[in-house]
Symmetry: C2
Subunit: 300 residues, 2 copies
């Protein structure tokens, strides 16, 4: 009887990595009792509000694919989660998307008030760079490279550009090229930085870094198309946030511009491209491939 | 006839350094036409809204005191100005201090709306770290040290802690120790980081770094006491912002807690301590001493 390799168990892997990241975030962030308590409670409230830790998981998966380990990648995994969480807190503010719920819980400003929510976002953004600076050094990539990577991906030409373009597209008819521009910046930029930082923590080659960039870009675009699709097809209960908000706000989305079926095909094609970019890793990118599959097949 | 050394001309020095910093900021920040234009216009609007460039001047003055030059200090000077400007934009928001005017001009959210103002602040905060990462290296202090210095000073236990404690003190009777806690964080932390970063760019000794820390802390505290005093004694026109706001908002201030005369004495004593810390530099800290004098004697 031929023995086969046991299939990769993503649920098991993801549970273990999420626990690792949560423990690390708990250790890295100032205690909730640290003075002034309000800001640290507010930071922790959103960081521990049940996020799926998809970006930290991608950091760790990329490190693994490049032959690295969790330990040097963890501060970077925590840093991208801080950036992601800050952007959600500010995005949920009344002056932006005006969301009352996120992952089934009241949004930061609904609990702590708008002033503290703005400051909690600022504090998490700042904390991200403190985490990168506080990490151990790497042979091929200096702290300078890591800080630059995170700052550019989160800055006014990438992540924030996406938020701005998204705000400005509301209620307007925009071409699909502009929608892709928004998705590339609002989602791909940080996913891309996540896998690249993971690779850097494993002292990856420039060829590996390029493959990670391709992977991150395509998974990011697919992720956002799926988010648009889920907003139309799922209930608020399943999503853990208000469903149908995009339609209500007349937001430009893939389903609105090209229809539901075409949107699903685009998402599948983007994911195929993401898989293709993993060939560089000669079978070492099992976690990354499983994560891509998980992101495409998720229903919330 | 005995020749005397010409006295240090602060106005001349400050004009030259401000021009240098403005040119550098203009070069470092994305152009106003860079896509999406709104965010870059908003960032530039507040950066070029007539700020006194006191923090960048302190960076350059500290570098000078430690035997350094402007060039390696400039990216750090621009970075602290980005941090300072972001904190003003967010501080002026309706959910915080709710200010309509700053330096005689409408505040960022009055011009661009609250959503863009939040994002412009975020973008400047992120830009600050991009600037530090993009600077040249230093022999004694790595990019890691510089990023950590800026992140800690701007983070939830320093600058942001000050904002939070300030928000929470509104309309309350707080002891003078708590007011000092607020000032140390809201103002001293970033001034302290400014002079320390300037020193680091000049590859300063640990003794010099300690003297700079003392200087920054005391000048920062003095600066804030004077701000409190000016809010009571000057008109809106002179200040370039709404005068008497602190009294109206029942904010805890030195004049409110200890009276005007005592406040002036405290400011003078703090400045004396700041001067004393400059003895380490054996007469090389002329610009820093002149700046301290300027900050104490200013009327707006």
């Amino acid at each position: 009887m031929r023995m086969s390799l046991s299939p990769f168990d993503l649920t098991h892997w993801l549970t273990a990595k999420t626990e690792l990241v949560d423990r690390s975030l708990n250790r890295c962030l100032p205690k909730a009792t640290a003075k002034p308590a309000t800001i640290h409670e507010a930071m922790r409230y959103s960081i521990f509000a049940g996020g799926k830790r998809m970006r930290p998981a991608l950091v760790l998966a990329a490190a693994e694919a490049c032959g690295g380990t969790d330990e040097p990648a963890l501060p970077l995994a925590c840093a991208v989660e801080c950036i992601h969480t800050y952007s959600l807190i500010h995005d949920d503010l009344p002056a932006m998307d005006d969301d009352d719920f996120r992952r089934g819980k009241p949004t930061n400003h609904k609990v702590f008030g708008e002033g503290i929510a703005v400051l909690a976002g600022d504090a998490l953004l700042t904390q991200a760079f403190e985490l990168v600076a506080g990490a151990a050094g790497w042979p091929r990539y200096s702290h300078r490279d890591l800080v630059l990577e995170l700052a550019v991906a989160s800055g006014s030409r990438q992540l924030i550009a996406g938020q701005v373009a998204d705000l400005e597209a509301e209620g307007k008819d925009i071409p699909i090229t502009q929608l892709r521009y928004i998705h590339e910046r609002k989602t791909s930029a940080l996913l891309c930085a996540s896998v690249r930082l993971g690779g850097m923590s494993a002292n990856c080659t420039s060829e590996e870094l390029e493959a990670l960039t391709n992977f991150g870009t395509h998974v990011g675009l697919a992720f956002q198309v799926i988010d648009d699709i889920l907003d139309v097809t799922q209930s608020s209960e399943t999503l853990g946030k208000t469903a149908g908000k995009d339609v209500e706000a007349q937001k430009a989305t893939y389903p609105r511009l090209v229809g539901l079926e075409k949107s699903k095909k685009i998402a599948a094609e983007l994911t195929r491209k993401a898989y293709a970019s993993l060939e560089t890793f000669n079978g070492r990118a099992v976690a990354m491939e499983a994560l891509a599959r998980y992101l495409l097949e998720r229903n919330h």
